[in-house]
Each structure stands twice: as structure tokens, then as C-alpha cells.
């Protein structure tokens, strides 16, 4: 099936009409979810992930805590209708556990865990839709959720998937592309110029690696700009709300309808 789909055509366009280095639309929603301390919903094209963060708080099981720093507990759940073929994965599914542990190990050096000894930070990842680049979406959403929860981080973590089709590198792959070409995921810390995750499950020629890696690091910077913009927008709204609280509620807001797309 995959052989019939042209990954990159002669005009330099990919199967969804993007150019080689073009990323998909990034939509970020940082509105509050229930009682969570922080939450973020991000969509990269058709891939959609919701992350909620609780903590730092006392662990449910005291034996799981560490005396000198906080523990990151990542739990992941994949909606059964998120893929083309319906598949119900249990929480103990190996693929899911592996993803969760990858997210945890990505964030361990970034979160300032030493500030909260004997406590736990719970990160719940919900995958609502999948269309490639799942791990980067989870990582980006986790960064934003931790920021909205006010957990101190050394830096943002911005992740992106890159692949190579014959000799031309591609960025932000869809499922179709991921099934067909070698690809890897890179998570960068844009300000400190460090890399916290590089993972690859396919084989890639060693001469192609350098170019792709540098390209993915650069794309991380672009995603960082988007994420920073979203965080800044939310902060502006919050600061505005604090001022409004002092002055009294603005009158024109009163008769506004509630809509599903209401977001900060």
C-alpha cells in the first residue's frame, strides 16, 4: 500500500501538500481542565494530545518518593478511536509504557525536581487523535502543561520528528510518511541549546544523520517560538484578569455567550 503513495513528488511537495521543511499547523489551548494544576492541549495537524499536570503534591504511595527530589509520574492513555483501525490499548500496554518512560526521562533533567523533595508530579497524557509525530506532540504538550502548572523548568523542551526520503530530509511526519521512511525524534532545549532526547526505531544511513539532526534542532527553535507565544498570550490574559479584579468586572463581558471554543 505504501509503495503507491508518493512521499515527495517531483515538484517538491509531500502527500499532504507541504514542502520538505514545512511543519503542520500548531494549535495550542492552555485553558483549565477540571481540578488540574496545569493543562495543555496541542494539535500538530491531525495529531491531538491533551496533557494535565497535578503537583508537586504528596504521593499516593509514600514508598515511591525520593528524599532529595520530586518524582515524575507519567501516565498515558490512548483513546480507542484515535487511530484508523480501532484498538483498545490497556494501561499496561508495552508500547504505551515505553512512551511514558521516554517522556519521563526527557523531563527529568529539565524539571527542577530538587526544589520539591519527597513529593510527586503527576503528568497524565491523553492521546485524542493520531496522525504521526505522536511523541513530539506529547513532549510539547507536557512542556506547556508543566509551565501552566507553574512547575519550575530550566527551559522549554521542543520536539519534532524528522525523516529522510532517499536523500532529502523531511520534517514533522504524518503516519503515512512514518510508515514508509526512516525517521527520528529530537527534543531540544532552545535557550540552553541542549538536546534531551534523540530516539530512532528505524535504520538511517550515518551520512544522513548529521544533516537531519541539525535540521530537527532548527525546527525545534521554530516550535519554541509558537509555544512561547501561546504562554505569553495566556500570561497577558491572566495579568489582565488580575487588574480587572481590582477595578471590578468590565460590564460589556457580562452578556457574552459561552462557546465550546472558549480558550485562553
Amino acid at each position: 500500500m505504501s509503495s503507491r503513495i508518493e512521499i515527495l513528488n517531483d515538484g517538491g511537495f509531500r502527500s499532504d501538500g507541504r514542502k520538505q521543511y514545512e511543519l503542520r499547523d500548531v494549535l495550542i489551548d492552555l485553558s483549565q481542565q477540571g481540578t488540574a494544576d496545569g493543562s495543555a492541549q496541542i494539535s500538530h495537524g491531525l495529531t491531538q494530545v491533551l496533557v494535565t499536570v497535578f503537583g508537586p503534591r504528596e504521593a499516593k504511595m509514600r514508598s515511591h518518593t525520593l528524599h532529595d527530589r520530586a518524582v515524575l509520574n507519567v501516565e498515558m492513555s490512548v483513546a480507542p478511536f484515535s487511530t484508523g483501525e480501532r484498538r483498545k490499548r490497556s494501561k499496561a500496554d508495552r508500547r504505551i509504557l515505553e512512551m511514558a518512560s521516554m517522556i519521563a526521562s526527557t523531563f527529568e533533567p529539565v524539571v527542577q525536581t530538587t526544589l520539591y523533595p519527597r513529593s510527586q508530579i503527576d503528568i497524565y497524557v491523553h492521546v485524542l487523535q493520531q496522525d504521526g509525530s505522536l511523541l513530539p506532540a506529547c513532549i510539547n504538550a507536557t512542556t506547556l502543561a508543566l509551565i501552566t502548572a507553574g512547575v519550575p523548568l530550566h527551559d522549554f523542551v521542543c520536539a519534532v520528528t524528522g525523516g529522510v526520503h532517499s536523500t532529502s530530509p523531511l520534517l514533522d511526519l504524518t503516519t503515512v510518511e512514518e510508515n514508509d521512511i526512516p525517521h527520528m525524534t529530537v527534543a531540544v532545549m532552545p535557550r540552553t541549546q541542549k538536546v534531551t532526547l534523540v530516539t530512532m526505531e528505524t535504520r538511517l544511513h550515518v551520512e544522513r544523520f548529521r544533516e537531519l539532526f541539525e535540521l530537527a534542532c532548527e525546527a525545534g527553535q521554530t516550535i519554541h517560538k509558537e509555544m512561547k507565544l501561546a504562554v505569553k498570550d495566556r500570561t497577558v490574559v491572566l495579568v489582565g484578569a488580575m487588574d480587572a479584579g481590582l477595578k471590578g468586572v468590565a460590564v460589556d463581558d457580562r452578556d457574552r455567550d459561552v462557546v465550546m471554543e472558549d480558550r485562553i
Binding site: F54, F81, D122
Partner: protein, 339 residues
């Protein structure tokens, strides 16, 4: 399912304020008022039907409220060798996100998930509601309808939200049109269709496809047009709505928040179906909580519940029809305007 723990004094305070005249609720509603219900269909592009429902979203903050996501996915099942059932079957599942119940252990969460799955499965998959167009080829192939609901946030009244989301997703579901196909060798007379594919003589290269009037003899099926343009589930008006009466005799309240749920001793879940040409039916009923109830009072509760469910049904129905228009007619107009 009383999720939050409230102290004795808090419970007494809430109960006392509910029983004063006029009754007082923390958010200023009267006893029978619902919070704002928001509904959107077609939220999962890979599903055959889907809906997202929110009860009680805060106007300015853009968050809060019970939030449920439901989606229907259809699968083809083999009736003869697989575990399919002639005429199709319906399977429901409910997943509770750990962030909706941050204080529950994962075992308690599994129990809650199971409880809700049982309520949904027993009500939705009941033979009296079974849609007739889930069959593909009688005795051979049938659709399996998977209804998956995810509870993202629980801030009270989760059962009503679950059933409303399920109803919206089922309403939105399109079953792909199918056409039965049989393989036929030309030497055989037109009426005798060979059922067994193994006996077909492939080497001749003259076997032909016949798609006319197959009935029971069809071997397989094909999809004649694009999959999204299928037909809706038969009898989609019948899918039930649930209304939960939180009983604090002699009063009852609707759409309770978490703290109110924790302060009332009894909850009565009533699932009503409103067929267009028949009187309403009570599809299922659950009583939960530690209290007890006498029969006469229960009967009056059911009569009241039917009235509230009727209101809920009418509102939901008009919203669903509006969504149908938004997603079909308006989307077509917008597309035409772009060209």
C-alpha cells in the same frame, strides 16, 4: 460514585441550604436547573460518528465543567467464523481519565470505569434499541458498532453527560452503504450462484462479478461510494437520554455538582427513550447511594423524571439537528463560496 469527600459539617450545610424555602445552591441555580450544556459533533475525524460534550463550562475562564468525548467506530465482523452476531452487535466502553479523578487509585478507577461501562452497555446495547441497518450480508457479515466514551473531567452529573454524549455520537454515526457481491462462472445458469469460492474455476479467466439481486447467496460485499456518505443509524431518534435525580426527600435536584452529589444520600438514574410514534419508554433505571426509598415516592420520581427527560430530549434533539445542518448544508455552502 461520590467522588469528593466532604466533611460532616459541610454536608449538613449543603443539605440545610437545599431544604430551605427557596432552596439555595452554591451557583445560584434553582433545583431543576441544568448548567450550560455545550455540544459539538464530528470531533474525531477517524471515527464514524463522534461528539464532545461539556456541562458547566465557565464563561470567562474557558475551563471547568464535566467533559465527555464519545466516538463510534464500525468494524466488519464475520458471523460464521468470527465472533460476529447475525444482524450486528453493539459494544460500549467507558474510559475515565486519571486526571478526572485525581484522588482515586488506579484500581478504584478501573472499578468506576467498569461500573459506567456496564450502565452504558446494558442500556445502549439492549435489543429494543438495536438499529436494523447493522447487517451487511445475512448470516455472513455484520457490523460491530464500538461506542467508546472518554471522561476527561468530572465535575458532577457524569452519567447524564455520558448518555448525552453517547446519544450525540450515535446520532452522528453514518453506516457505509454496502452492496453484496457474488462470483459467478458464465457457464452456469444465472440463477445458480456458486457460494463456494474454492470451487470456482479461476484458470478460465471468464468468471464475472454480478451485483444484482444477491439476497442470501452473496459471498462478499463492496462499498459503492465514498465511506463518509453513508446512511444514518436506523431509529436514531430512539437512543435514550439519562436524567439523574439527586434525592434528598422530600426534594430532588438535577445536575448536581460534585459537592452536592456527595451530600445527598440517594441518586436515581433514569434512562428514557422517546420514539417519535410511540409513548416514551423507560429503558433502564439505577438507584445508587446508601439510602432507602419507598415505592410510592419512587413512582412519583419516575413520573417527574419523565418530564425532565422530555425537556432534555427536546433540547438535545434540536441541537443535534442544528449540528447536522452546520456540518452538511453550511459546510457545503462555505466550500462552494471558496471555489
Amino acid at each position: 460514585m461520590s467522588a469528593t469527600l466532604v466533611s460532616k459539617s459541610e454536608r449538613a450545610y449543603i443539605q440545610a441550604s437545599l431544604q430551605t424555602t427557596p432552596p439555595l445552591r452554591a451557583d445560584g441555580r434553582s433545583l431543576l436547573d441544568f448548567r450550560t450544556v455545550l455540544l459539538e459533533t464530528g470531533v474525531a475525524p477517524l471515527a464514524n460518528g463522534s461528539a464532545k460534550l461539556n456541562i458547566g463550562k465557565l464563561a470567562r475562564e474557558g475551563g471547568g465543567g464535566t467533559e465527555v468525548l464519545a466516538a463510534v467506530k464500525l468494524e466488519v465482523e464475520d458471523v460464521e467464523s468470527g465472533d460476529g452476531v447475525d444482524g450486528g452487535r453493539v459494544a460500549c466502553s467507558v474510559t475515565c481519565s486519571p486526571s478526572a479523578y485525581p484522588h482515586l487509585t488506579s484500581n478504584a478507577l478501573d472499578d468506576l470505569q467498569h461500573d459506567l461501562t456496564v450502565i452504558l452497555q446494558q442500556t445502549i446495547a439492549h435489543p429494543s434499541l438495536h438499529p436494523s441497518n447493522l447487517a451487511i450480508i445475512p448470516g455472513r457479515r455484520a457490523w460491530l458498532l464500538n461506542l467508546d466514551a472518554v471522561i476527561l473531567v468530572d465535575s458532577g452529573n457524569v452519567v447524564d453527560a455520558l448518555f448525552m454524549a453517547a446519544r450525540a455520537a450515535l446520532w452522528d454515526t453514518k453506516v457505509p452503504r454496502t452492496r453484496p457481491v457474488a462470483y459467478q462462472a458464465p457457464s452456469v445458469s444465472k440463477n445458480a450462484v456458486k457460494e463456494n469460492q474454492d470451487s470456482m474455476d479461476v484458470d478460465q479467466g471468464t468468471s464475472s462479478l454480478d451485483t444484482r439481486d444477491m439476497g442470501r447467496t452473496a459471498a462478499d460485499f463492496e462499498l459503492p461510494d465514498y465511506w463518509d456518505e453513508g446512511e444514518v443509524l436506523q431509529g436514531r431518534e430512539r437512543w435514550p437520554v439519562s436524567v439523574t435525580l439527586n434525592l434528598l426527600p422530600p426534594i430532588h435536584l438535577l445536575d448536581a455538582t460534585l459537592t452536592e452529589e456527595a451530600s445527598v444520600p440517594l441518586r436515581l438514574h433514569l434512562m428514557f427513550s422517546f420514539p417519535s410514534s410511540a409513548p416514551p419508554t423507560l429503558q433502564s433505571m439505577r438507584l445508587s447511594g446508601p439510602g432507602e426509598l419507598d415505592l410510592v415516592y419512587l413512582k412519583s420520581c419516575i413520573a417527574d423524571g419523565e418530564k425532565y427527560a422530555r425537556g432534555l430530549f427536546t433540547a438535545l434533539e434540536s441541537k443535534l439537528r442544528e449540528e447536522d445542518v452546520r456540518r452538511n448544508a453550511k459546510a457545503r455552502d462555505r466550500f462552494a463560496a471558496l471555489r
